[in-house]
Each structure stands twice: as C-alpha cells, then as structure tokens.
C-alpha cells in the first residue's frame, strides 16, 4: 500500500491548503485537477485514516467556528518530507488508456458511421472542456495574483489547454477523413451489389 497515488494527492492538497476534510479535498480535486486526475470518497476517507495512523497527517477538531461535525487534517513534518520525497522521485509514465482511440482503431469492424459519431462526441466534449479550462485560467489569474503556486497551476493548465485544442483540431480532420473513406467504401459495395 504505502505509496498509493491517493496518499500523494492528499499530501499535495494539504500542502496547498491546510486543515481540510476529506470532503474538501474531493472538492479541490474536482475544481482544480479534474482534467487529469479524479478521486472517489471510497478512496479518500480510508486513506486519510491510514495516513493519520502513520503520522503523515494530523487530525484536528474542526477549526472553522463550530459548524458541522467534520474531521480536518493538516500535514505533519513527516508528511511534508514524504511529499517532497515523492515529488523528487521520477514520475511513472502510465500508459493513458483511451477507449475512444481503441474504438477508432477497430473502426473498420464497426457500423459505417459509428466512428464519425464518436469523433463528433469527442470534439463536442473537448470544446466544452476547452471553454471551462479557459474560464478556470481567467479565474486563477484573477484570484491568485502573486500566489506562489500560481506558476505551477498555469503550467498544468496550459498543458490541458494545448492538448484540448489539438484534440479539437484533430477531430476536424478526422471527420473529413472518415467521411471520405465511408463514401469510398459504400461506393465500392454498391458496385459489388450491382455486379451481383
């Protein structure tokens, strides 16, 4: 178990904002890194408990003036050290599985315009993502001027934006390609039909 990615994520998030609950962390993930990372509660809560046991984080009674019952956590010295250790270690290059690409790859076996449908969805989706990323970028600039984390956030954001743009462009050309191969294929099969 030791070095679950979830634990690293939690360490990182608590390094940005101390005294957060599991619920908070989940929200932070959704609002800031969801375009390249996601976590479920079923992963976060048990991991928090474990990390507290191991002394990587310390549980604190809710600091925010007596609202709901909630368990907040902050980094311990050990946790901070662990975070730095992880950050220094080489990242593991996980093969980013894409069911979308897999379906395209086998597209020949699909019904004629299934692929085009998928690509259209893909493009629409990426357009949506792009606009939210651009919105986020504006927000980040506005609310965090001078914030020491800013350059790093902008870096990952610009990565996301670049890739989303490239996906949109690619989709465009993909649709034209697919349409032309489709007409070519149907033309051929028509000929065959006529011949029979």
């Amino acid at each position: 178990m030791q070095h679950s990615q979830t634990a690293n994520l939690i360490l990182g998030m608590l390094s940005i904002e101390p005294n957060r609950s599991g619920y908070d962390i989940r929200k932070m993930v959704e609002s800031s890194v969801s375009y390249f990372w996601r976590e479920s509660y079923g992963q976060i809560y048990p991991t928090l408990k474990r990390m507290a046991r191991e002394g990587l984080i310390v549980a604190r009674p809710s600091t925010s003036k007596g609202k709901r019952k909630r368990q907040e956590y902050a980094l311990s010295a050990k946790g901070r050290a662990r975070l730095q250790e992880w950050l220094a270690a080489p990242y593991r290059d996980d093969p980013p599985r894409s069911e979308f690409l897999l379906k395209l790859f086998f597209g020949r076996a699909a019904s004629p315009n299934a692929c085009i449908q998928h690509v259209r969805h893909f493009q629409a989706n990426n357009k949506r993502v792009l606009s939210t990323l651009l919105e986020v970028e504006r927000q980040v600039y506005a609310n965090n001027a001078g914030h020491p984390h800013l350059p790093f956030w902008l870096l990952t954001l610009s990565y996301g934006i670049a890739h989303t743009r490239s996906s949109i462009e690619w989709s465009e050309s993909a649709v034209t390609n697919l349409s032309s191969t489709q007409t070519r294929t149907t033309a051929r099969s028509k000929k065959r039909v006529r011949r029979t």
Copy 2:
C-alpha cells in the same frame, strides 16, 4: 465481469487477424496501440479462457504448420456481434490520470529544480515516442497500401503524433517558465536572507 476492456481488445484484435494466440495478441498490442493501450499476460490468458467458455471466441489447434504448442483463437459469430455492439456504444471518457502533471501541479512544494528535471524527462521521452510513431507511420503506409484497416490506423496514429508534438512544444515553454520562476524565487529568498 462481462464487459472487461480486455475482452473488447481481444475481440478487436481477432477481427483484424484471426487465429492468434494470447502471446500474439500481446505482441500486436505492443506494436500497434501501445501508445494508448497496454495489456499484461495476467489479464489476457484468463480472459481468453473465459471468452471461449462464453462462446465469444473459438479455440483452434495451431494452424501454422506444426510448430510449438500453442492455442489459437478466432472470433465466433457471437463474438463479432459483441464487438459491433461495443463499437457502437458510446465510449467511456476515462479521466486520464497523469502523475507527471500532478507532480507539476504541486511543484511549489518540491525542491527547486525537481520540476524542471521532470519536464526535461517528459520532453526527451516524447521525442523518442514521436520518432517511433513517425517510423510506424511510414511502415504502415508501406506495408498496408489498400488495406481496409489503413484509414483507421492512420487516424489513431495522427492523433498520437499530434499530441506528442504538442507535448514537446509545451515542454519547451514550460522549461523557460520554470527557470524564470525559479530565479525569481531564489532571488527573493536571497534578499530575505540578507535582510535577516
């Protein structure tokens, strides 16, 4: 279990080349889609057995003239139908976790040039990938002219190439950004030291 991705992959691969063994399928994956998909033997062999039991594929005695003992498989009608079903269904948009980006995002907590190191690795790696993808593209063109799968393969390839290129470009700007924030930060801390 039913709809494991591994099963779909196997259906797809057998639709391209019938009478392949688990070993073959693994090799096909590595040589053709490894830039967006990977499978381990520990996943492939049990899945093959299960699929044979379910009648999605049929086991055949090694067709290739009496070499080693090996178990080959081919699609059944049911398997082909299942494949088409899967290809027609909407792809699931898996959040593509990137440990690399996560480390960058938390980069403020890292030792000064850890991030730069990571980005450099990232760039070097992407350059390597790009050259193999371009090589593969050449090969595919050369060996598969007129092959009905060609357009689909080129599509996924062009996706990979576009993204790899965009990653390389982004890395370039990322390194400059990081260097400048680094010098800024160290300058500030020097000042602070002098003041103390």
